[in-house]
Amino acid sequence: MSVEVRIPTVLRTFTGGEKAVHGSGATLHEVLDDIDARNPGLKERIVESQSLRRFVNVYVNDEDVRFAGGLNAPTSDGDVVVVLPAVAGG
């Protein structure tokens, strides 16, 4: 089972410059755990205290996971996860 996770430029230091990595899992959380095993530190930039970081948007198949179960959003073979840091400031 493989889910493609698209990595934003700012986090590619964790993936050796790769724009996308693949992981497996039945939920977003499991997929992130799986890719973090090979790209240590990546998950921590997306997840904080068991939930998504406030300024990181994550989409599973074009759907914002904040409205689809958050880290428990289901994932399956062939799904595409997009990680998109919020563009924000003061």
Binding site: T9, V10, V82, A86, G89, G90
Partner: protein, 153 residues
């Protein structure tokens, strides 16, 4: 234009080359949304560092002290750029009561290391015609580097 004068300063290679119409469009947007912060991007072909297409973004915060791209709109832009092989070249926003320099929040949330961060300050003239300042920065790993702006007609 300003590069020659600053020939001996460090980081002199940093420069934003940008069309006059885009500078004018950012200022116009900042004035329209004053006293709230305006925000948007100028995108261009991947890897070229040339801003070609300005896209106004909704400030989901509608705030005089904060901005955040509306997430669905940001995602739509991401999808579009994947198709057109474009990337964000400039991220711009306005400061409506302070100078055109990155705030601590701007620095801590900067997440587009390839982008030029342009800040327009409407603090002096508000929504009216008059003095505005517009400056460009690189923000990466918590470090701010101001760069020259080379405006092309």
């Amino acid at each position: 234009m300003h590069r020659a004068k600053r020939g001996i300063t460090p980081n002199v290679t940093a420069v934003l080359t940008i069309a006059r119409e885009h500078v004018d469009a950012m200022i116009a947007h900042a004035r329209e949304d004053h006293p709230d912060e305006a925000c948007g991007v100028i995108v261009g072909p991947e890897g070229a560092d040339v801003p070609t297409r300005l896209v106004r973004m909704i400030n989901a915060e509608r705030s005089p002290t904060f901005f955040r791209f509306e997430p669905q709109e940001q995602f739509a832009l991401y999808k579009e750029m994947s198709t057109t092989e474009e990337e964000i070249v400039v991220v711009y926003h306005s400061h409506t009561a302070t100078q055109a320099y990155p705030s601590r929040t701007d620095i801590s949330l900067a997440s587009e290391p390839q982008a030029h961060y342009v800040i327009v300050s409407t603090a002096e003239s508000g929504a009216a015609d008059g003095q505005v300042s517009l400056r460009s920065f690189r923000i990466a790993d918590g470090a701010v580097t101001e760069e020259e702006i080379d405006i092309t007609e």
